[in-house]
Symmetry: C2
Subunit: 767 residues, 2 copies
């Protein structure tokens, strides 16, 4: 249960194995650089499963990708995010008795995530089998102020005994990625990717472990330093690939001892001399008391929430769920150009730490509208990997342009099954769309000249290369749209409309930069010519967008409507997701959608179609969409809201908001669904508040779900910041900073200077 | 060089490693049950590569199929044909010198395939390093009369010395499949699939080895018996998994010794008690002198050639190439319902001994028209595997009907990459087409009632299940046609027209069997109803066949013409086959064909289209077909001939006829291209002679390439046999047996009683 003061807390929590695995994810600590799953320091019984994990964003090894038939250009190697040295372990001995949640009696227990402070806590009142009672309070933090730093503050208080207590703090070099015999995706993959090179004590209280990766030629250093609040007998133990410190002391009744365990993670991607650097950073970390880091953590989050909070009035549960989601976004997002947003954040090993289109279409909008510098960094990651995208395009047979990989860490394609992987060329359009949106929100011409334009031009080139004219229209054959239940089709509406947008804006940005005398460097760098720009313009103007007049809808692709509808009524199956129960050929052959595809296109580029076409399309696709992807419901929520179907919108919203907290897809143990959290934000801002980012400014069309009393959030625009508060009566905009700008509310333009109040729209939604 | 008396011979052959590998294939011995590559008995130098192989048709182990992503229903296990115990080895010691082609001096050498006698020979006049000269003559045979029998007759004659000679005849249990680090397709597959259980001497001259397979629960026994023409000192040697016999004797100048090595292969699929049975068969084999088996071999082949020969007058080279090809067909074709025709026959390990559509569309026509009982057996193989095809259909999501596997030994799908594997649903139509042709040639209603109808009904059911009506037409979505450069398309012309044929004939055969009171057993067995038959009829009548009026062609599929044409002129690549140099997505996106697709459909079902449409289609597709498949040229030959383009036809014919003898595709070392040999036959019979098998009888339209003086072959029809001889003046048909039947020559009907002469057509070909 979340509380108003940004706390998600469970009391006297269950020790059921499945629940514990879920909580390992839910209560994980991350800061975009490192992520630590919330495992019990002291471990679990032998028959318990636990995914004990520590991860570094963008740190990977290479593993082979098996291919049944060795066709040209298929992926034979992928990157996989690695589980790093274990720094979590702390064993407590009370006399001769070892503390465990599974022995003795747990009199009281509590776990808590404090999103204001940026810490997790576990508190246990435990009575040992022999009747000694201790209170254990543990606070964990991954620092936003010092990204390589993870801390555990471990309190032990004797309630009713006096006697010997031993604390053992371990630092373990051997780490393996999670392996499950039930999950054939990783079955053959049980390889020790991280090979320890050295474990030693740098000084009395500081252990260092260095390891290298098996294939990727990377290395990582972790440093652990233990600081005890009291004098104790200390015994250092060094094993082959690990180190441990034993602290022995006597505790009187009512007395407390506190161990502060600092751990620093440095990888060789960011820190080429990570061996030295990690020790330096450790010295910095321990130069001040831990409280300083707590203070900086809270300060960082205060700034984050100040701009980034979303408050729902009248529904605390949902409000808190949104808060939880936004907190996961800031925990997950990479803060340097070496990293991006793994699909499961840094909370688990699902999708192997890979970055997908999820970033641009689901996560980036939040940062763009609240913490623009993070959005900028996400674009810089794509800019940095243009080279790999260029190579990828060549592999796929394109002489010009770039093709971004469907899933990746380093920028190289990791997708092994291309029909629903590399064939999703829309990734290029998604990235271009995010660059265009960045421009529309920031109007930052310098950024476009330095970075954005090159991405736009190179992605636009690919559309020219892949497409061709047929009967006067520009067509794109043999790609896969977002809906992975329909693969390798011609003129996927989503892909084509994004390509159109990409081409149009490539030409437009060219003109703008030219006018501002900023075009020369990029034009020279990639040899872009006026005639190429003219090709972009023409292809955009002649882009073929499938339309069915009779139904007044946009078919998902050229042949979608010809296919059989999925026999929902005939087969009384409850076998979702369908992909787990039907051969791809069977799915591809039917009118059945895994997720929003055309509906998503209508959301992001609504001016390409009539209102009626979008509405009819929504109604058409809604009947045949299973939402087997977690990226779907939020989009249907946004579009339901667009059409004034407020109850439907609210229902879709509910499905998304508590996806992980309620483990609705059953796999949160493998990590949080980051994109869905972004989607929940979008459902509020683009859905209920009706925001659209357009060339002429922000457009708002707020609606208020009848279950709510109001909602409020802030938005950045053109360097400014304004607050939007919707009540049951009015839409209230207050400018917090920035110059006056044009804004549309319910399609009516206003010049936003200091504040604006517009009555809340009631009644039917129109075009 | 082949000679008129059916001999393919090379004198003083090269010892180049690549050539030797090629000859291992070219001179292999096989009888449809066993196949032995023509390796040197005495072996090769260490640095030479050799694919030393003995295979049993249909004998396999199971091996895992790696999949990059574990989608539902993908193939995770395949069958692979195994290399069996080595029975070829014979070592000759002349005094202390070991005979080798690579030491001393080869004064003369010769290799020969005698297709009349059914034997291969190697003859070597060899002078040892110390100057002793021996003549070695080796004859090898896989018996058509006793399928498990392989013999080596090994003559050694002293030319110029007297002294000790030792022959060692080995029998080696350890056998591995071929492994090449250059061929990633088998790279991970270097597993010993065949595990020797026992090796022993059953009697003085007879060794026995038993092995079992690692995963498929099969076993195999080989028995070797050595018979020497002279007295000698014999020493039997038994090793862990092998046995050997040493024969020591003295040879005077001019004297000869002959070793006859009998080897018997029995597998547990055909011979559940193969241990005993193999020894029994050995006793039978050695009960008569080897000359008896030579006699029976020649007799078998006399019967084979009597009906099956094709003679080209005026071009001995091509005539011989055809003869070589037909000999490979009888060597390759399975003679029992446990086996079929491996794509490489029993001559090598390419395609792992799998059976494809090659059988029905390229190989079976020859047997149907010459040795009908073998064609019948090939259909029985498909009948026997209906159960597996039914299971396969369920995996692919079809509640009814069967779907034959794209590649298989046991009937279970072995194709790992479904877009150009399992998605080739036309395999169902191909098999149905062959059943229909079997009926049209034999008019054997009993066979249809017992076997054929069930195949037709079950395959027809699948079309109903996969297809659906759209705008009044019956359509089939998301399949792949024969052209593997265009995958997962809608309404592939080839597939649809075959489905139409299949559905039509399922209904027709139902009616015929019903009229003849033979329908009840099969109808009851698979619960086929009149209303289902009516569905077949209607779907057939309403089958959608793509047609483009402007071009007057049948597009290969719905979207084929919209795609870009392959940039032949732009890229000056000589990179064939394209599949080795371009990503599948790149190929799929272009108008580019690996092989005949629509052109093949027009050949087999010409009455579905206008003459002009077929001709225009031929011209259209010819420009964009690379013939990267060995199954393509022969079909283009047939259709070029159909349109009177005789020079073009002749050119295509030449490309096909010498494919293996000249190693035109560079991979004959991995085995012969069996389907191509069938295609060469088809090029003569369906191409130049213009045969079409239709409901109203045989249609002929002979043409004579200007390079030829004439050609002649025999055809079976309705239980009869007739001879067709084409000269530069006339078409001469002579009935050899059978009742009078209707025949069409140049579209004119005749009643063929005893003989018929029609002037050879000259001038333009018309509809």
């Amino acid at each position: 249960m979340l509380s108003k003061n940004m706390i998600y807390q469970i009391n006297n929590f269950s020790l059921d194995n499945q629940k514990l695995m879920l909580y390992e994810t839910i209560f994980h600590n991350a800061n975009g650089y490192i992520g630590i799953r919330s495992n019990f320091e002291e471990g679990y019984p032998d028959n318990y499963q636990s995914i004990r994990g520590a991860y570094i964003n963008g740190f990977y090894d290479l593993t082979p990708v098996a291919q049944a038939e060795n066709l040209y250009g298929l992926t034979h190697e992928k990157q996989t995010m690695l589980n790093i040295h274990d720094v979590q372990e702390i064993q407590l001995m009370v006399g001769g008795e070892k503390f465990s949640m599974f022995s003795g009696t747990v009199l009281k227990s509590m776990r808590r995530l404090d999103m204001k402070k940026g810490i997790t806590e576990r508190s246990v009142l435990w009575r040992s089998p022999q009747g000694k009672t201790v209170k254990i309070d543990i606070t964990r933090m991954t620092s936003f102020a010092l990204l390589p730093l993870f801390t555990i503050e471990y309190h032990v208080r004797s309630i009713d005994f006096s006697g010997e207590v031993k604390l053992r703090s371990s630092h373990i070099g051997k780490a393996m990625n999670y392996y499950s015999t039930n999950d054939p995706r990783v079955a053959g993959d049980h390889i020790q990717h991280l090979v320890p090179d050295e474990a030693f004590f740098a000084d009395k209280n500081t252990s260092v472990i260095l390891s290298h990766t098996l294939h990727s030629n990377l290395s990582v250093t972790t440093v652990v330093r233990n600081v005890l609040s009291r004098k104790s007998r200390i015994k250092n133990r060094l094993y082959e690939n690990s180190a441990a410190q034993d602290f022995l002391l006597k505790l009187d009744k009512g007395e407390e001892v506190v161990l502060i365990k600092y751990a620093v993670f440095c990888d060789s991607i960011r820190y080429p001399d990570c061996r030295k650097k990690a020790q330096k950073i450790m010295n910095k970390a321990t130069a001040s008391p831990v409280k300083k880091w707590y203070y900086l953590q809270e300060r960082y989050l205060k700034q984050f929430w100040d701009t980034g909070a979303v408050v729902i009035k009248g529904n605390e549960k949902l409000s808190n769920a949104i808060t939880y989601g936004l907190y996961q976004l800031i925990q997950s997002v990479g803060k340097d150009p070496y990293s991006n947003v793994p699909a499961k954040g840094l909370s688990g090993e699902g999708y192997e730490g890979h970055y997908f289109w999820d970033t641009e279409m689901y996560v980036e909008p939040y940062f763009l509208l609240t913490h623009t510098e993070i959005a900028r960094n996400l674009i810089l990651y794509r800019y940095r990997t243009l080279k790999e995208a260029r190579e990828n395009a060549r592999i796929l047979g394109h002489g010009k342009g770039v093709l971004y990989p469907w899933r990746t860490i380093t920028g190289k394609e990791c997708s092994g099954y291309f029909p629903s992987g590399s064939a999703q060329y829309h990734i290029n359009g998604d990235i271009a769309y995010s660059v265009i949106n960045y421009y529309l929100v920031t109007r930052d011409l310098g950024f476009m000249a330095d970075y954005g334009a090159e991405i736009l031009f190179e992605t636009a080139r690919l559309w020219i290369n892949i497409g061709s004219y047929y009967q006067g229209s520009f067509r794109i054959c043999c790609v896969t749209g977002p809906d992975e239940y329909t693969c390798l089709v011609n003129n996927n509406y989503y892909t084509n409309v994004l390509a159109k947008h990409n081409l149009k804006w490539a030409a437009k940005i060219y003109d703008i930069l030219k006018k501002n005398e900023k075009i020369a460097p990029v034009a020279e760098k990639i040899h872009i010519t006026e005639s190429e720009i003219q090709e972009f313009r023409e292809a955009s103007q002649h882009m073929y967008l499938p339309y069915n007049e009779k139904l007044d809808i946009n078919p998902q692709d050229d042949s979608f409507l010809m296919k059989k509808k999925w026999p929902f009524s005939k087969n009384d199956f409850k076998e979702y997701p369908l992909l787990m129960h039907y051969h791809p050929l069977c799915l591809y052959r039917h009118q059945i959608c895994k997720q929003a595809d055309t509906v998503l296109a209508h959301f992001i580029l609504e001016d390409e179609q009539k209102f009626s076409t979008m509405k009819h399309s929504f109604q058409y696709y809604e009947k045949i969409t299973t939402h087997d992807s977690s990226l779907s419901s939020c989009i249907f929520c946004i579009m339901a809201s667009r059409f004034g179907m407020s109850e439907k919108a609210y229902q879709y919203f509910g499905n998304s908001a508590e996806l992980d907290l309620k483990n609705l897809q059953g796999n949160t143990k493998d990590g949080i669904h980051v994109a869905n959290f972004g989607g929940v934000y979008m459902a509020v801002v683009f859905g209920f508040a009706g925001l659209r980012i357009k060339e002429d400014g922000f457009h708002l069309a707020p609606a208020l779900p009848k279950e709510w009393k109001g909602y409020e959030f802030k938005l950045r625009n053109a360097g400014g910041l304004f607050d939007l508060m919707v009540t049951d009566k009015s839409v209230n905009i207050k400018v917090l900073s920035g110059i006056p700008q044009k804004i549309f509310v319910y399609n009516k333009p206003y010049l936003l200077k200091k504040s604006l109040q517009v009555p809340l729209r009631t009644g039917a939604v129109t075009e």
